[in-house]
């Protein structure tokens, strides 16, 4: 009996798979995209996130594709309104308990959506080339320093601790004297390959793309190279909101902040590894910060943005399925937590979706202590057995876990330096 062939139909297209294959296997065979978050390749399915729901035409029931076995004669649809809404609701439920923001408030407030936290980190390690490219990414419109009203500083969470990080100086970094000593060629990205890669990266992470347009853009190099990025940025800046099909960035930005005002007990969490120095005053007030001043000031940034902001399945699907973070938002939120016991990785439990991928990896790789589910029900969480430290729990596979984590719950501490 084993080894026989199973014929199923997905979205009207027939496909034959081996017995024991799942509906997800069959869909992938056909190149049909089914979102997954708890799915771990080559491991037994866990079936927890429920974003892979598909519809069984015969029973009208929803099935999780990742673990439902393909059965002969099955007809599956992945493209119905019911499927779309079910996935959207699953994502909204996950978002309703998500403690953590994709972006820092500064970036959300910036009219050009400049990636200020990343810029600050580049400046902090005196990586001027990266800093420059981050700023270039934000153009147009490159606000001149005269026009920049620094809304970022008004919303900076450092205000709640002492004073905001001074951002305005970097807002116009391209034209400032912060980097006069650097050779000019370092500041210019000449290589078109780089440009293309950047363009693709931006497209793949830009917020308002639907899956389909993103797919098309990524297929079409010309499209990327032909500076449509700028149009996207224009949208991002809210200049052409009406014309965009997807949710506007403004809508996204409005939805994205769960953390809002910090609770008092969160100050120490956010201030860990952050310079406690007070705001740097430029020696030359008219000329702006000198390089060392800028570096010192940048070290005051609290890293409000998610370390996985550009590599997060939850965020990507939330955008693709137009999931509204507020839909099921209850009263308060849980406090933001950050577990820093491990040298290489961070654990932010508030972002965990309990998919158990990390638990399964530690089990598979025979970590001596590993990770486990603790408790049950709504309060179930992932942690080290007997409340041991993360460093003990993840001796071998910390980076694997961080990489496989579908959200920012487990992430590499320091961003890769290029």
């Amino acid at each position: 009996m084993s080894g026989s062939i199973i014929n199923v139909s997905i979205d009207g297209r027939p496909v034959a798979v081996a017995e024991g294959a799942t509906v997800l296997d069959a869909a992938r065979e056909l190149g049909i995209d089914v979102p997954t978050m708890c799915y771990l390749k080559d491991a037994k399915p866990f079936t927890s996130c429920m974003v892979c729901l598909v519809e069984d035409t015969a029973s009208q029931k929803l099935l999780p594709a990742c673990s439902s076995l393909a059965q002969d004669g099955m007809t599956i649809r992945t493209d119905t309104a019911q499927v779309h809404e079910a996935r959207q609701r699953a994502l909204e439920l996950l978002l309703s308990e998500h403690v953590g923001d994709c972006e820092g408030p500064c970036r959300c407030a910036c009219p050009v959506h400049l990636d200020i936290p990343r810029l600050l980190r580049a400046v902090g390690r005196a990586d001027w080339r990266s800093a420059r490219s981050i700023v270039d990414d934000a153009q147009p419109p490159c606000v001149g320093e005269q026009d920049c009203k620094a809304p970022c500083e008004r919303v900076c969470r450092r205000n709640q601790v002492d004073a905001a990080v001074s951002n305005s100086h970097y807002g116009s970094i391209s034209s400032r004297s912060v980097i006069p000593s650097l050779p000019r060629d370092l500041l210019i990205i000449e290589n078109t390959g780089d440009l293309l890669r950047q363009a693709q990266h931006r497209l793949s992470t830009s917020l308002e793309m639907t899956d389909q347009t993103r797919h098309e853009c990524l297929q079409n190099e010309n499209c990327c190279a032909a500076v449509s990025i700028r149009a996207v940025v224009r949208c991002v800046a809210g200049l052409d909101v009406e014309a965009t099909a997807g949710p506007s960035v403004e809508a996204f930005v409005r939805n994205v902040s769960v953390i809002g005002k910090l609770m008092a007990e969160e100050h120490p969490v956010m201030m860990r590894d952050v310079s406690a120095a007070s705001r740097v005053v430029a020696v030359d007030p008219d000329g702006g910060y000198a390089a060392d001043e800028a570096t010192r000031e940048a070290a005051r940034c609290m890293h409000c943005d998610c370390r996985k902001g550009h590599d997060c399945a939850l965020r990507d699907y939330a955008i693709a399925y137009e999931a509204d973070q507020r839909h099921y938002a209850g009263g308060g939120r849980r406090p933001f937590e950050q577990i820093t016991q491990h040298a290489d990785i961070l654990y932010e439990p508030g972002k965990c979706i309990r998919c158990g991928i990390c638990v399964r990896i530690t089990e598979r790789e025979r970590e001596p202590l590993g990770l486990t589910f603790i408790g049950r029900g709504f309060d179930v969480r992932i942690g080290v057995p007997f409340e041991g430290s993360l460093a003990e729990g993840l001796r071998e596979v910390a980076r694997d876990c961080a990489e496989a984590c579908p959200t920012g719950a487990l992430c590499v501490r320091k961003e890769a330096q290029q």
Binding site: P45, F46, T47, S48, C49, M50, V51, L53, K61, L62, P64, S67, S68, L69, A86, R89, A90, L93, L94, S96, E97, Y328, G330, G331, I353, R354, V359, T362, E363, L369, G370, L371, T372, F373, I374, G375, R376, G377, F378, D379, V380, P385, F386
Partner: protein, 782 residues
């Protein structure tokens, strides 16, 4: 932290074995030994067994029975099952905490004597609210009795330390027999004390009478029920017997050895009573005004006993008596006359459907297991009856263990299983004990046949383990998290082998079918649902207990004829059938027959058969909130829709009950309930919205009322206020009993309630002799 004796842990490991699958057994034994799971013990287990730290800690934190912090010397478990909830268990729980001065997140008093916890359901619904202290269960507990109850328990503990073991009196040439059930709920009603008193009375009066332990009659409303069989064989039943009634009762039927003894005893008893009456004594149990109330015949007329056959007559562990009534003949007939295939045919032809809730055709399941791949096959009896408001499986296991064993042995023969496992929840210690003993007796008598071993696996407190894939995970020593089906357990079950999982009642029906033939079962019940079904009848009802009726009996017949209707002055409003997976059926639909399909059509389901009757004093939004809170608490936390979805539904319901409902909440609740149903992985999540959706369907006006700021039934604390009318006679009882001193002491005057202090615990209303305490609607927004 105290050091522990590690050799005890070693002894436990030696006894249980070192396999991963023994994790729960090992942890249960450690907890029994130390009253919690000490870290050193867990380290030792990791060191000496195949259990990994991740597995062990995952399991220890999953099951509610386990605790990682030291507990008090005694554990007080307040049942918050459905019937207990409607009868005020929440207030009793609060009263225990107040009495023991336990505050905040603590659960243990300062002396570390008592730990107070909530428990899903003790299965003593007719004696609600019920409380279990260690292995003693108390029924009808009121807030005012909490202190007395703890004293009573400690006194009994001291007694127990002194008492000797032997209890059963057996004499030659007995003139008569006295029968008493000591199942968990009868014990809760005081059967233990009655037993002791009977034993003492028989000895003191030198009566030639045998005291016989019997299986439960199911008449929980009459418990403890003493049956006296005289010399002539005439049986008399006495309901709600108290220990101090026993002597007089016995004397009514049997002559003591001598006249002078009789006179002395009577005189002494009279003296005792005089002394007792001087003490202000609130007994832990309540009794009806007429304790000699005869057993109403309608209670029996409607019933048909298959699984409860022999109730009140046969001793639960009396194998001879069970066999004398034809026990084990069905099994022998299978072995002698039928092939396994013929047995499956027989079960299929009877149309038997699984009694655990889903109503899947048993014959089909048996067939699938029998025809699955070669190799070891397992048999599992699902006795994880976790639904609040159900106690059928407990009573069957406690009172008729041989019947279930016989059913399992027949099934094992039919599907070719080599090992059978009873999975019984740890909240049913007596069931575990009796089944273990019964298995041993059957083994000793050589009744099980070649190649079948039976054993008991104890649950550790997780409702979700009633779901078969979660149950199998628990037997394998894992967290009880369900997995997707297919593959069904009949194909890949325990340890990946074909496994037949049936409910207790299903197995208990099997011997009868084999003995009487498949057509006999179809004579009972309806075409779609043949046979009988047991129900745990409880809630707002005069006569509650365990009943067994043919399928197709109407709700009205059960409530009004068998149950005697709701109490005086109230109107029947709805029945909640099937616990957290079922729904509420309103009184106007009470004429629908109870069978799998009719209930399903009304948005409810059979579940395992909890039937809680509600009257006009019950708030349907509160009931929905109660069940959802239960499901939410018991969710394993695996899939998004159940883990987060039920929580978001509960958020809305809590808002409604707190008078903070918003426009659109009801619609959102309905929609979200639909998604949780459609998108959850297992039966728990797929049915968890039923109590909400069915009340929304039938009682939508109550939801709307809550949004408008009123609770029509006057139950939701935020929407009511207590007041004292001019009927107050100034007796001060309310002031004395108020736990928060919200009623100033004012003898002979009309009392007043300070609303700021009032916690709406309802004590004043319960103790008021002149019904002067009333509940007023209070809209927090106006």
């Amino acid at each position: 932290m105290s050091e522990i004796d590690i050799s005890q842990v070693d002894a436990i490991i030696d006894g249980c074995g070192t396999a991963r699958s023994e994790a729960i057994t090992i942890l249960t034994s450690i907890q029994d030994c130390f009253h919690y799971l000490p870290q050193e013990a867990l380290d030792r287990v990791c060191e000496r067994t195949d259990c990994t730290p991740a597995q062990l800690y995952g399991v220890a934190t999953f099951y509610s029975h386990f605790r990682l912090q030291p507990a008090g010397a005694h554990r007080v478990k307040v049942c918050i099952g459905t019937a207990c909830h409607v009868k005020g268990a929440g207030a009793v729980y609060d009263a225990f905490r107040r009495h023991l001065a336990i505050e905040g997140d603590d659960d243990t008093d300062a002396d570390r004597l008592f730990t107070v916890e909530k428990v899903a359901c003790l299965g003593c619904c007719m004696l609600a609210p019920a409380v279990q202290i260690d292995r003693t269960t108390y029924g009808h507990v009121t807030q005012a009795q909490v202190g007395g109850l703890l004293r009573d328990f400690l006194a009994a503990e001291a007694q127990r330390a002194k008492a000797d073991g032997s209890k059963v009196l057996r004499g030659a040439g007995v003139a008569g027999e006295v029968r008493l059930c000591r199942c968990t709920s009868c014990e809760a009603a005081g059967a233990g004390a009655v037993w002791e008193a009977t034993h003492a009375a028989i000895q003191a009066l030198h009566l030639n009478v045998r005291l016989q332990l019997v299986g439960c009659t199911g008449l929980s409303f009459e418990a403890p029920l003493l049956e006296v069989v005289g010399e002539g064989g005439d049986a008399f039943r006495y309901g709600m017997v108290r220990a101090d009634d026993v002597e007089a009762t016995l004397l009514r039927h049997f002559q003591p050895a001598g006249l002078h003894r009789r006179v002395t005893t009577r005189a002494l008893r009279w003296l005792d009573r005089c002394v007792d009456s001087f003490e202000e004594h609130e007994a832990p149990f309540r009794y009806a005004a007429d304790i000699r109330e005869t057993i109403a015949s309608p209670y029996w007329q409607r019933q048909d006993h298959i699984v409860l056959d022999g109730a009140g007559e046969v001793g639960p562990l009396d194998l001879t008596a069970y066999r004398a009534r034809g026990g084990f003949e069905a099994l022998q007939r299978c072995h002698a006359r039928y092939t396994p295939d013929e047995v499956i045919e027989l079960i299929t032809a009877s149309g038997l459907r699984g009694r655990g809730g889903g109503g899947f055709l048993s014959g089909l399941k048996w067939r699938q297991t029998a025809t699955a791949a070669e190799g070891m096959r397992y048999l599992v009896c699902n006795g994880d009856e976790g639904d609040p408001g159900s106690f059928m499986d407990r009573m069957i296991l406690e009172s008729f263990p041989f019947r279930v064993i016989e059913g399992m042995a027949i099934a094992a023969f039919a599907v070719g299983a080599g090992e059978g496992i009873f999975y019984i929840r740890c909240e049913y210690p007596l069931a575990v004990k009796r089944v273990r003993e019964a298995i041993q007796m059957c083994v000793d008598a050589g009744l099980l046949g070649e190649g079948l071993t039976l054993r008991v696996a104890e649950g550790a407190g997780a409702f979700v383990c009633g779901e078969e894939t979660a149950l199998l995970a628990a037997i394998e020593g894992q967290r009880g998290m369900p997995r997707i089906r297919p593959p069904y357990p009949s194909e890949q079950g325990l340890h990946g082998q074909p496994t037949l999982v049936n409910n207790v009642e299903t197995y208990a029906t099997v011997p009868w079918i084999v003995a009487h033939g498949p057509d006999a079962l179809r004579q009972l019940g309806t075409p779609g649902s043949p046979g009988t079904k047991t129900f745990a009848l409880a809630g707002r009802i005069v006569r509650g207990g365990l009943i067994e009726v043919p399928m197709g009996t109407t709700i009205r017949e059960v409530v009004e004829e068998i149950g005697g209707g709701v109490g005086e002055g109230h109107t029947f409003k709805a029945v909640q059938i099937g616990g957290p997976s079922g729904g509420c059926i309103p009184a106007r639909l009470a004429d629908i027959p109870i069978d799998f399909d009719s209930l399903h059509a009304e948005g409810s389901m059979m579940g395992s058969g909890g039937l809680v009757v509600l009257d006009d004093s019950d708030c349907m939004v509160d009931i929905a909130r109660y069940f959802l809170a239960f499901s939410q608490d018991e969710s394993c936390g695996k899939c998004t829709f159940c883990r987060v979805g039920t929580r978001r539904m509960l958020d809305i319901l809590e808002r409604l009950c707190a008078g903070e409902g918003r426009a659109g909440d009801v619609e959102e609740l309905e929609k979200l309930g639909g998604w949780v149903k459609a998108g959850s992985l297992c039966g728990l999540g797929q049915t968890a919205p039923n109590p909400v959706l069915s009340t929304l369907q039938h009682f939508r006006d109550e939801y709307e009322a809550h949004i408008a700021g009123t609770c029509p039934a006057g139950r939701c604390k935020a929407l009511i206020r207590y007041a004292i009318t001019t009927d107050c006679i100034g007796c001060t009882r309310c002031a004395q009993h108020c736990p928060v001193d919200a009623i100033p002491f004012a003898p002979h005057e009309r009392h007043e309630i300070d609303d700021e202090l009032c916690i709406r615990c309802d004590t004043c209303r319960q103790v008021c002799p002149s019904n002067a305490v009333i509940i007023r609607s209070h809209n927090p927004r106006s």
